[in-house]
């Protein structure tokens, strides 16, 4: 059964809003259906006439729009600025996170080292702490000049005392 095309179909075809298979059927029908051809031709002629009408805005109107665009350019938020703002805030965030991580790592390391070295483990076969032996040499501290003078004076006193005896 052959499809009967309406005026609306012709209009859709003229405005290229018909799917390819339907368009093909309509083109075939145009060859054999004289009435369809006449309707098609009539709509096509009217549309061709309509296309002849075209108006332009005045130069003044266009210039005013362009002037508005130029004058209000500063008002808009420049995307570059906002981008750089985003990038800087992003990098700031990364830096802050890195600093926090490094600080935490350092604190954990120090605390671990402290606890490992201060709490003796009795179970461990290897002594974690080397027992501290006092070395007198290490304990030696240089005497001050006053002390030395005092010592010399006391020695002299002793010598004087013994010679007096």
């Amino acid at each position: 059964m052959k499809k009967k095309f309406t005026d609306e179909d012709i209009i859709r075809f003229l405005f290229e809003e018909m799917n390819p298979s339907e368009s093909e059927l309509l083109m075939e029908a145009l060859y054999r259906d004289e009435d369809l051809w006449k309707r098609y031709e009539s709509f096509q002629n009217i549309l061709q006439d309509i296309k002849k009408v075209s108006f332009e805005p005045s130069e003044g109107s266009v210039l005013r729009v362009r002037k508005f665009v130029a004058e209000t350019r500063e008002e808009q938020v420049k995307p570059d600025d906002s981008e750089s703002l985003n990038i800087s805030s992003f990098s700031f965030g990364i830096h802050a996170m890195l600093v926090t991580v490094v600080t935490l790592f350092a604190v954990v390391t120090i605390l671990t080292t402290y606890f490992v070295h201060t709490i003796p483990s009795t179970d461990s076969p290897i002594p974690l702490m080397v027992e501290w032996k006092e070395d007198p040499l290490l304990k030696w501290e240089p005497e001050s000049i006053d002390q030395q003078i005092e010592e010399i004076r006391s020695e002299l006193e002793e010598i004087k005392f013994s010679s007096a005896l």
Binding site: S54, P57, F68, R73, K78
Partner: protein, 203 residues
Amino acid sequence: MEKALIKKSQDRDLIKGFIAGNDSCFDVLISRYKSKVFTTIYLIVKDRCIAEDLFQDVMIKVVRMIRSGKYNEEGKFLPWVIRIARNLAIDHFRKVQRNPIQRETEDFDIFNSIQRSEGSSEDKIIREENARYIRELIQRLPDKQREVLIMRSYADLSFKEIASLTNVSINTALGRMRYALLNLKKLAQETEMRHNYEEKIHG
């Protein structure tokens, strides 16, 4: 070189360029669509001066909306602009609360406004006369038919887009277009008959 590239760019790239601060991208958009937008407005409001004002208002609104990020990139640019133009035209009608009155001095403006084309001055005059005649016929159409005809023929909106814009079905939009074209033909025939009759009467 850069200008040539901008001219060939797609609408969405031009809008991106404009948002990034390149005003020449918007210049290209104006040059590309000013005629379609203006013709649409003019045929809706039927008044050259009002159309000039509305054209500026539409373009300024377009600039503001693009800059404030209200333009949806998925949609087409021209249908979006036409939607704004139509809404502003409706607002205008609401403000004046009456149909626009055609001005006496309008014909002079129309002659200047018809798109300039190549050819001899005689051809140009004939073309301008034809365009004026067709415009007059279009303006005699019922509002709803005229609206569909303008939006499809001048603003390049699809019937689907027109249906969505005017809150009707696609079939209704197509039906209005059909009646608009048939009525145009009828009006043209009537005008021709009247013209022939007047010629006979006046010799």
